[in-house]
Amino acid sequence: MLQTTTQKTAASHIAGAGEANEFLTFRLGAEEYGIEILKVQEIRGWEQPTTIANAPEFIKGVINLRGTIVPIVDMRIKFGLGDAQYNTLTVVIILNIAKRVVGIVVDAVSDVITLDAQQIRPAPDFSASFDTQYITGLGTVDERMLILMNIEKLMTSADMALVDGDTVQ
């Protein structure tokens, strides 16, 4: 039952993205993830954010992005993948989702790839490092497996504690 729902979400989500499905891929520990390129605003290096009182550990704080106050989430801490080290190679992906700007810390940004519908399979029902409801499908590129995530749904979920309860979609 759950699987069918996921498949439907996957299908509708991908269909909604139009013909050209471009994905930005990044690594978290040993896993490779893909997010819709249209949700990505920019990629920056790491800078020490201002910590926020009583925030969960994975919310590193807020930074000043040309006058906008942007919260930074460390996906590695959130999903317990890779060791959360901060150095000159640490990458922050600035996302533009649900009219909000949010930064996520990942291990490395790999590539921008184009996937057509045949290359995307529905996600199996076993657990990845996070809830399958945020996975739209699995992509295969050159024998590598890519986990495609619905980053918008994830970032606006109550789980991420990024938005107030009443605005959670």
């Binding site: 201002t50 006058g67 106050i69 919260p71 938005v163």
Partner: protein, 712 residues
């Protein structure tokens, strides 16, 4: 008007609708202000003319867009007022009332049209029309047949007697041309004009070279006045002149008669020489028109209106003379960008301070200039958002008038300090609380006239609205000279409500009880107030704006309620403090003092809560690091700094590592991209580009007190 059909079918008017609604709204506001201001006995011509013009302008616009209901009502208003203006009928309070009611109706109708709704209360409109017409009956039964109003067009066309069914040649002069109204802009208007008739350019070669004006002639069946109205929606009417074509065009002689002073080519005189022409124009223009059979002398009036520079000089027209309409978003964007500039400038200054001042003298001088300029730009851009308090005050004459009438009281409203400027966002939010306070003063504060006389006061009560600057804040006061607050009554009521009160409370503590929810001492609940909802909302709204309310009252002398607000929402005077590695900002207004406590000055209660003794007062102490779950550098109170804060009537001592300095910071919302954080009211960007959080002092104070309550 014959032009309206063409307008509907041929040009795309929908884009212009917004403009019409805006303008009509302004005209209505202006009209209302004038009506309220007018003294029935001594109304001067200029006031009457201004009211007439406002009604007329709305009618013109409404007709152009085919809003017949609006046209109908404004037409009646215009017809009636025309009589008054010409002294054929006296101005009466009743008439002013009907006009005010009509203005309200027009607002409703425009609102409905704007939102695309169709719910125009036709019966009420008709009733108003009848009321308006009733004023005309004794004066001009014969002259004003009760014409079906949809035919508004008829008198207008008829008023141009020399243009029977046939066509006429009109001359259009577009001037002065400049950056605000370019040659190309004229072309745009001219293209649209082709719907009215055949347009030919008649600009002479010499004029073309100077490029200051363009001249066209148009062969049309539309009257000059109607054409002017139509053009008013395409271009600034001040820059376009419509008149009968000059003599060589063999224009009908009668057509040019109504405007003798301008028959010659003195277009520029109209704009440049404001002193001479207006003086004779209004007199001479109606003169030839007077014997005309049509009771509504529209055409000449319109011509006068369109051309008269007096319009710009008149108080009614002054508000739209030199302003442009810009969306708030654009202004906010500008302010944000300036904020960025300030930060960049601060960063540059910081970097350059390391450079040798002798070697890099020019650089330092340049940076000093940059700093000055940036500050000026910041101030100037902030001032764009500032609006005078008159924007908020302007609605009160009406509120007072209506409420006083309802309550049967005699009231005079005095407003001072209308020029005091306040952030637009704050002005919008202060209007409702102010309205509430004014109604309250009218209802509860002021006594009925007889009671006033018995108490040795004048029959007429006075309500004073006052705005002024005090330090970095603006104070808005609502004062009345009424009966004042009754201490015993409030205390009795509070006891009845089960509130914890004592007879020893200070006056100000007693007065502030009226802000509690559900508190009303009015014996009779009236239509106006007394339901006990409101005063608590008033206080909440004002606190939400970062302001506070104070009440001063004396029995039989009156009550004064003072609202103190920050000047703007966007900028905050703050003190930055450091805890661990982070800087925090606290609003300067909330800081009473800061001190380094002596060992032993802080004692604990039941081993949990801690209090600081300051000059005999015991204040709860909290550590900022602990509240925010951080690590402080200083563990002992005597090593760090205690800041004493005051908010919402309570005081608290807050322990921090260090005071850093005083800054003016640009407030940014944390919630735009994140969520609300308890204890934090916003964020800002410091000189080094880092984000610093602004503390919510009210939260800190409440937290400290609740902890102390638990400990005790």
């Amino acid at each position: 008007m014959s032009s309206e059909a063409g307008g509907d079918s041929d040009f795309d008017m929908s884009e212009l609708h917004g403009l019409f609604f805006d303008e009509a709204g302004e005209h209505l506001d202006a009209m209302e202000a004038l009506l309220l201001d007018i003294d029935v006995a001594t109304a001067d011509d200029e006031q009457l003319n201004a009211i007439f013009r406002a009604a007329h302008s709305i009618k013109g616009g409404a007709a152009t867009f085919g809003f017949t209901d609006v046209t109908e009502l404004t037409h009646e208003m215009e017809t009636t007022f025309d009589k008054v203006r010409k002294k054929q009928m006296p101005l009466s309070t009743d008439l002013v009332d009907v006009f005010l009611a009509s203005g309200d109706m027009l607002k409703t109708m425009l609102g409905a049209l704007k939102s695309g709704g169709d719910s125009v209360p036709e019966a009420e409109v008709a009733a108003l029309c009848v009321r308006l017409r009733a004023f005309l009956e004794p004066a001009a039964t014969a002259a004003v047949p009760a014409q079906p109003l949809a035919q508004t067009a008829v008198p207008a066309v008829a008023a141009a007697p020399a243009a029977p069914a046939g066509k006429q040649t009109l001359e259009l002069v577009f001037a002065p041309l400049d950056a605000g109204f370019t040659v190309t802009a004229v072309d745009g208007v001219v293209i649209d004009l082709k719907d009215f008739g055949v347009v030919t350019e008649t600009t002479t070669a010499e004029e073309k070279q100077q490029a200051v004006l363009r001249r066209f002639s148009i062969l049309t069946e539309v009257s000059a006045a109607d054409l002017s109205d139509a053009i008013a929606f395409m271009a600034d009417p001040e820059r376009v002149k419509v008149q009968a074509a000059p003599a060589p065009q063999a224009a009908p002689a009668a057509k040019s008669a109504p405007k003798p002073p301008t028959a010659a080519d003195t277009e520029f005189g109209l704009f440049v020489d404001a002193a001479t022409l207006p003086a004779n124009q209004p007199e001479s223009a109606p003169a030839p028109a007077a014997p005309a059979p049509a009771p509504v002398n529209e055409a000449p009036q319109k011509v006068v209106e369109l051309k008269s520079p007096a319009k710009a000089a008149a108080p009614a027209g002054a508000s739209d003379s030199a302003s442009i309409r810009v969306s708030v978003e654009k202004v906010d964007q500008l302010i944000n960008l300036v904020g960025e500039l300030v930060i960049t400038q601060a960063m540059l200054a910081q970097t350059a301070s390391k450079a040798d001042p002798v070697l890099y003298e020019a650089l330092h001088n340049g940076l000093a200039t940059l700093e000055r300029n940036t500050r000026d730009i910041q101030e100037a851009s902030m001032s764009i958002r500032m609006m005078p308090m008159s924007v908020a005050f302007s609605r009160f004459p009406r509120v007072v008038r209506d409420t006083a009438a309802k309550l049967g009281k005699e009231v005079e409203l005095v407003t001072t300090g209308e020029g005091t400027e306040l952030d637009k966002g704050l002005i919008e939010r202060i209007v409702d609380p102010l309205t509430h306070l004014v109604r309250n003063s009218l209802d509860h504060g002021l006594e009925p006239a007889d009671e006033r006389v018995a108490n040795g006061k004048s029959r007429k009560g006075t309500i004073t609205l006052r705005a002024f600057h005090q330090g970095g804040a603006i104070v808005i006061e609502v004062a009345d000279d009424g009966r004042g607050l009754r201490r015993e009554k409030i205390l009795a009521k509070a006891k009845e409500r089960g509130m914890t009160v004592s007879d020893n409370m200070s006056d100000s503590e007693v007065w502030s009880l009226i802000f509690e929810a559900g508190f009303s001492t009015a014996e009779v609940i009236t239509d106006v107030s007394g339901r006990g909802v409101g005063m608590d909302v008033v206080r909440r709204n004002i606190q939400a704006m970062g302001g506070r309310v104070e009440i001063y009252s004396a029995v039989n002398a009156g009550t004064r309620i003072a609202i103190k607000l920050p000047l703007t929402l966007a900028i905050l005077d703050g003190m930055s403090v450091r805890v661990g590695n982070e800087a925090f900002i606290m609003p300067l207004g909330t800081i009473c003092e800061s001190l380094q406590p002596q060992p032993g000055a802080i004692s604990s209660i039941s081993g949990r809560g801690q209090v600081l003794s300051v000059r005999g007062e015991y204040l709860p102490v909290i550590s900022l690091a602990e509240v925010l779950g951080m690590r402080a550098d200083k563990q002992r109170f005597e090593d760090g700094i205690i800041v004493i804060l005051e908010a919402e009537g309570g005081k608290t001592a807050l322990f921090v590592d260090e005071l850093v300095g005083q800054h003016q910071v640009v407030i940014k919302s944390l919630e735009t991209n994140y969520r609300k954080v308890p204890g934090i009211s916003g964020a800002t960007i410091m000189g080094d580009g880092r984000v610093a959080l602004i503390l919510d002092i009210a939260y800190m104070v409440a937290l400290a007190h609740s902890r102390l309550d638990k400990a005790a």
